[in-house]
């Protein structure tokens, strides 16, 4: 337990998917929505942290939000951008540097797979020219081995995507809102074996902002508070198997997600068994399957039975990706981590609408994962 609790007092989100709006415009809308949710004005904000991967610098948002002179730090940390912004906000509050802090994540990507340049990732040019700088390859190879080792079937991968689209259909901000059946998902065309087209998320656009406060400052806001018990971001350790790796050591691989989730639970003083609803990185169906185990929610291989029996559905015992996850919302890299937190905040407030988890959930968990082996996790309670 920490001496200073950090409280989420406001949460704002834009629709995900494609529109004419720029990433910065979406970010401004999300921040204003979060401020309105907290019932405060921008002038009350004492510090801000945020970023995007491909849609510009967050600190330039002061032009639209107000030139109050506050410190605004740009965060650019791949898929952990939102999570890292949250960690910074938490530290600012716990240190006493600020009492009211905004964290914002936004992005807008062109159509098609990401096209990272090898040099930016510390790799030889050949990995780009020969066609190996493709994130979908990694996810396919990781789940291919996992299925071999732990008896996960292709049908389970399809059921994960089916659930994502079913949940997305209940989420007015989701990009993909048409339910799709497992057979259709399996028949949608192989992209990178064993993953088919409808098992993947697509790069997209969207923005999310949160207003975070100390307990004391939270009393002076109108938002329904949710306690952020832990926010942790990590990089990979030796022995893990991650995106954009020219090689990996032999043996049973670990992962940065495993480390990050464990650290987040430790910081929160809670365990996976305490969690009522969670959001796990689902770049594609296989990622959700593997992250269930890596984050501590089941043993390797148990997913086959848990998913088939509906345990990860909204009305199951461990609802996963209740807002449709990346598969139904797309992947605006800078925004995804905070989208997950936004969804948990709504679930814990009982404001999940058509996708509300029954039984008044008390604790939630979020997890993002990305290249080249970064992860961020949070634990929230009401």
């Amino acid at each position: 337990m920490n001496a200073t609790d950090v409280v989420v007092c406001g949460a704002g989100i834009t629709p995900f998917g494609r529109s004419e709006a720029s990433g910065r415009q979406l970010a401004v809308r999300a921040v204003r929505a979060a401020l309105a949710d907290a019932g405060i004005t921008w002038s009350r904000v004492e510090a801000a942290f945020g970023g995007s991967e491909a849609a510009g610098n967050a600190d330039t948002l002061v032009a639209e939000l107000g030139l109050t002179g506050l410190p605004f730090v740009n965060v650019r940390n791949g898929c952990a951008t939102g999570g890292s912004a949250l960690v910074c906000a938490v530290e600012a509050i716990r240190s006493g540097a600020a009492e009211v802090v905004v964290a914002v994540g936004f992005d807008r990507h062109p159509r098609g797979a990401f096209d990272p340049l090898p040099a930016a990732w510390g790799l030889d040019e050949a990995y780009g020219t020969d066609g190996l700088m493709v994130t979908t390859q990694f996810f396919a190879m990781k789940i291919q081995r996992y299925m071999h080792d732990h008896g996960i079937t292709a049908r389970t991968l399809a059921l994960v995507a089916q659930k994502a689209y079913a949940n997305g259909a209940r989420n007015p901000n989701a990009w993909r809102r048409e339910p799709l059946g497992a057979d259709e998902i399996l028949a949608s065309g192989m992209v990178s074996d064993p993953l088919t087209r409808y098992m993947f998320c697509s790069p997209g656009q969207g923005a999310v902002a949160l207003v975070l406060c100390s307990r004391e400052a939270a009393r002076r806001t109108a938002g329904v508070p949710v306690v952020l018990r832990a926010a942790v971001a990590r990089t990979r350790r030796f022995g893990s198997f991650e995106v954009f790796s020219p090689w990996a050591p032999a043996g049973t691989p670990t992962s940065v997600s495993r480390d990050t989730a464990r650290a987040a639970f430790e910081e929160a003083g809670l365990g996976p068994g305490d969690i009522d609803v969670c959001q796990l990185q689902d770049t594609e169906s296989g990622a959700e399957v593997m992250h269930m185990a890596e984050c501590g929610f089941c043993a390797d291989g148990e997913q086959e039975r848990l998913i088939a029996s509906g345990r990860t559905a909204i009305d199951g015992t461990l609802p996963v990706n209740t807002d449709g996850g990346c598969i139904a919302n797309g992947e605006p890299i800078g925004a995804s981590g905070l989208r997950q937190v936004h969804e948990i905040v709504q679930q814990l407030r009982g404001r999940g609408g058509d996708r509300q988890v029954p039984g008044r959930p008390r604790a939630g968990f979020t997890h993002v994962y990305g290249a080249p082996g970064v992860s961020a996790c949070t634990v929230l309670t009401r």
Binding site: T129, Q137, A140, W247, A250
Partner: protein
């Protein structure tokens, strides 16, 4: 050809990695310091034969750049990690292996050439496979 290659000095050579004399960890491409203990690593020639640890098919043309589309156009290709006896799994393009023939554990020859490592079906059965 643009850029220095990670390990290759010419076509069809064995891979050159590094190995830590302290903890025994091998790495590819060669690195000056052990990625596990941080101690100095020494250059080592890696085995030319290993087994397929995992694989997939790149069925769509990657974005160009950085991808250099072959002169005769894009064709789907296999990619996988080949595990070598030194305890290294090396990312490689799999030449001449069809998706329906790819099996985890199959023996493969691994070579460095121009570009990333390339693997193809082992010319001789892997002794470990025969006895195992």
């Amino acid at each position: 050809m643009a850029g220095a290659r990670p390990a290759a000095a010419g076509a069809d050579e064995g891979l050159r990695g590094s190995r830590c004399p302290g903890c025994g960890v091998a790495a590819y491409p060669a690195v000056p310091d052990c990625p596990r203990c941080g101690g100095p690593a020494a250059p080592v020639a890696l085995s030319g034969t290993g087994t397929l640890w995992t694989w997939t098919v790149q069925r769509f043309a990657p974005k160009a750049p950085p991808y250099a589309v072959p002169a005769d156009g894009f064709r789907p290709f296999l990619v996988g990690y080949v595990e070598l006896p030194e305890g290294v799994r090396v990312l490689a393009v799999l030449d001449g292996v069809r998706p329906e023939d790819a099996v985890i554990g199959m023996p493969l020859d691994l070579t460095a050439g121009a570009g990333v490592p390339r693997a193809r079906r082992a010319r001789r059965p892997d002794p470990a496979e025969v006895t195992g």
